[in-house]
Amino acid sequence: MRRFAQTHPFWSAIIVLAVLVLIYLIFAVWPKWLVELIGRKKIFLNALFNGITLGGLYFLVASGFTLIFGLMRNVNLAHGSLYLLGGYIGFFVADYTGMWLLAFPVAFLLVAIIGILMQIFVFRLMEGQDLRQTLVTIGLSIVLADLMLWGFGGDFYNISPPQWLSGPLETGLVTSERVRRSGEVVTSYLKYPMVRIVIFGASVAIGIGIWLLLNKTRIGMLIRAGVDDRDMLSATGAPVQWVFLGVFAFGAGLAGMAGVVGGTFQSVAPGEDIRFLLASLVVVIVGGMGSIPGAALGALLIGLAEQFGSVYFPTYAVVLTFLIMVLVLAFRPQGLLGRA
């Protein structure tokens, strides 16, 4: 961090300034001119929190994608279908057993098994043929999307969180202060859905877990070595195929788990697969392909851009995210945290 500050003093100053402004915007009671300029504080805070929690969800989907890509150079365009499948599995598990928490491991396991099957029957057979692998995943996503439409219909499914997670949480952040006619000051505080905060905490925990796994364990060492030079790793006698299989299963499982999260946040429906595939594409392009911290940064940026866009410029919300992507591509083609 110190090195970054030394080599880029200008950018560090801008980042510090932005953080200070953000802290002010979150904690201060907004003066009148600011409210007139950009609207009420409650809207701003809601957009901020929604953006951050959406970023958490995007991170869950995109981290599997970027892990698979980084290790195997394999763009799995069926990743969105795995996400959607996880959502459906989660819904039915939660619905039958009534246990919301059980939905996560079941979705993780089942989707991971599908990932293993894909790795064995598709990708291992076409190793080194990047384009063909990608085309096969497109074909798979078309087939899976139609099979799911066939099996589950076009309805919206909502996974309802358990009792102890529903309801709002008092955050203690002041949204506005009004002076009543009698002279007393009424302060209102922001309330935020509990489940979103819990899920966001969980995705942060998962992100840290992945980081620890990659940087502190032997398996992580193998994976990082594979990302750097796959051929060299296999030449040293490491069980490369098993590492591939494991990473693919883990990435797919993460997508499946993210499906459960997405089903609780929003809903499970046909078309969500493409939406989340695109989101993870953009996140990974912005953050840098194959980089987990990059995926986290990209997910946060895209989530915030989407939420702030839909609040402040509703017509062009979607375009805003793609604008970020275009800017990153134009000035830093390898992604913000990607290696050249």
Partner: protein, 356 residues
């Protein structure tokens, strides 16, 4: 159609070595048969077949050929080709006439159509400039994201693109007193442009530009060392590919007489890739074969599916499975399968097992 001369690489010396024949004597017989069949098609095909099946196949074939040109000769698989087509279609609707008179400028077609093509080429150059900063599979991801962005943009923008509704009553101009949306004139119109696309791509693949592009595809560093501008060639390839794609988009707009975000949503974007890949990416005939198959499937699959007892809406499953099988079996679509069959047939049975 003339597939047997595919394997023979172009060799400029061969014509000089032999006694020079007249140029049309060198055209293989298969070409003559296909040309004859295509020109006389209106005699034995119904209007529905002419307009809906052949017209549509030619249009999709043109758009898919632009992808084949980029992917086959340039090594850049772009999913933005349908978007280029959409830009052209939208431009014609905006500059020309449509039912949305508040947006459409109503300029005559000889201004609107060239302007639409120019806009498309400029757009494609910009996209190409962005996309060539990445390579291989990255290109697919970025062009897919761009295609999605354009789709969402047209759906949400009401000032220029008229949002969800799009434009309707975008009709071809009544040039020479002919209604070009009649089945037979439309058939010949699309046939003309499809043939022009086919021969232009074939010509370009053997012209210096096309050869340099193939060199860039195979070994960019070497081409750069030889003094070729690698980025320039790639961007130029994008710009050229926008012309058949744009023409296809304009014809598509005229055929359906409307353009809306649905025309360029992700489904058609992927369909173009499916068409080009199933046909084959090594020769411009591939996309047309793929397009013909796709259109026939799309038109008649519903009946077949219902006859088998499945719902007609399982069409996507059929397309997806067919695509999977073709990609699984062959690395070069139907052209690749065709070549494999030919090779195995031509192989001398006594020479196959040399080791024994």
């Amino acid at each position: 159609m003339a597939l047997h001369d595919l394997e023979r690489p172009y060799d400029p010396t061969s014509a000089e070595g032999r006694v020079a024949r007249h140029w049309f004597e060198r055209i293989p017989t298969a070409y003559w048969i296909v040309v004859f069949l295509l020109i006389t098609m209106p005699v034995y095909a119904s209007n529905f077949v002419l307009f809906q099946i052949f017209g549509w196949s030619f249009i999709l074939g043109m758009i898919a050929t632009s992808l084949m040109f980029l992917a086959g000769y340039g090594g850049m698989v772009s999913l933005a080709q349908m978007t280029f087509a959409g830009v052209a279609g939208y431009s014609v609707a905006i500059f020309g006439e449509s039912a949305i008179t508040t947006i459409s400028q109503g300029w005559p077609f000889y201004v609107a159509v060239p302007l639409a093509l120019i806009v498309t080429v400029l757009f494609a150059t910009g996209i190409g400039w962005l996309a060539v900063r990445t390579e291989g599979i990255y290109t697919i991801m970025i062009t897919l994201a761009i295609a999605a962005a354009f789709f969402y943009f047209t759906r949400q923008n009401y000032d220029i693109f008229n949002g969800f509704q799009g434009f309707n009553s975008v009709l071809p101009p009544p040039l020479f007193g002919v209604d070009w949306r009649e089945a037979i004139p439309f058939y010949y119109l699309t046939l003309f442009f499809a043939a022009a696309t086919y021969f232009a791509v074939l010509y370009l693949s053997r012209a210096p530009f096309g050869l340099a592009l193939q060199g860039v595809r195979d070994n960019p560093r070497r081409m750069a060392a030889l003094g070729f501008n690698v980025t320039g060639h790639r961007v130029a390839a994008y710009a050229f590919s926008a012309i058949p794609a744009g023409l296809g988009g304009i014809l598509l707009t005229w055929q359906t007489s409307q353009i809306s975000p649905g025309t360029i949503s992700l489904q058609p974007v992927i369909d173009i890739l499916v068409i080009a890949v199933v046909g084959g990416l090594s020769h411009p005939i591939g996309p047309f074969i793929g397009a013909f198959l796709y259109v026939v499937l799309k038109t008649f699959a519903v009946d077949v599916l219902i006859a088998v007892g499945l719902g007609g809406e399982r069409f996507q499953l059929l397309i997806g499975l067919g695509f999977l099988i073709v990609v699984y079996v062959s690395s070069d679509g139907l052209i690749g399968i065709w070549r494999k069959i030919r090779e195995s047939r031509n192989r001398d049975p006594f020479r196959t097992r040399e080791g024994e």
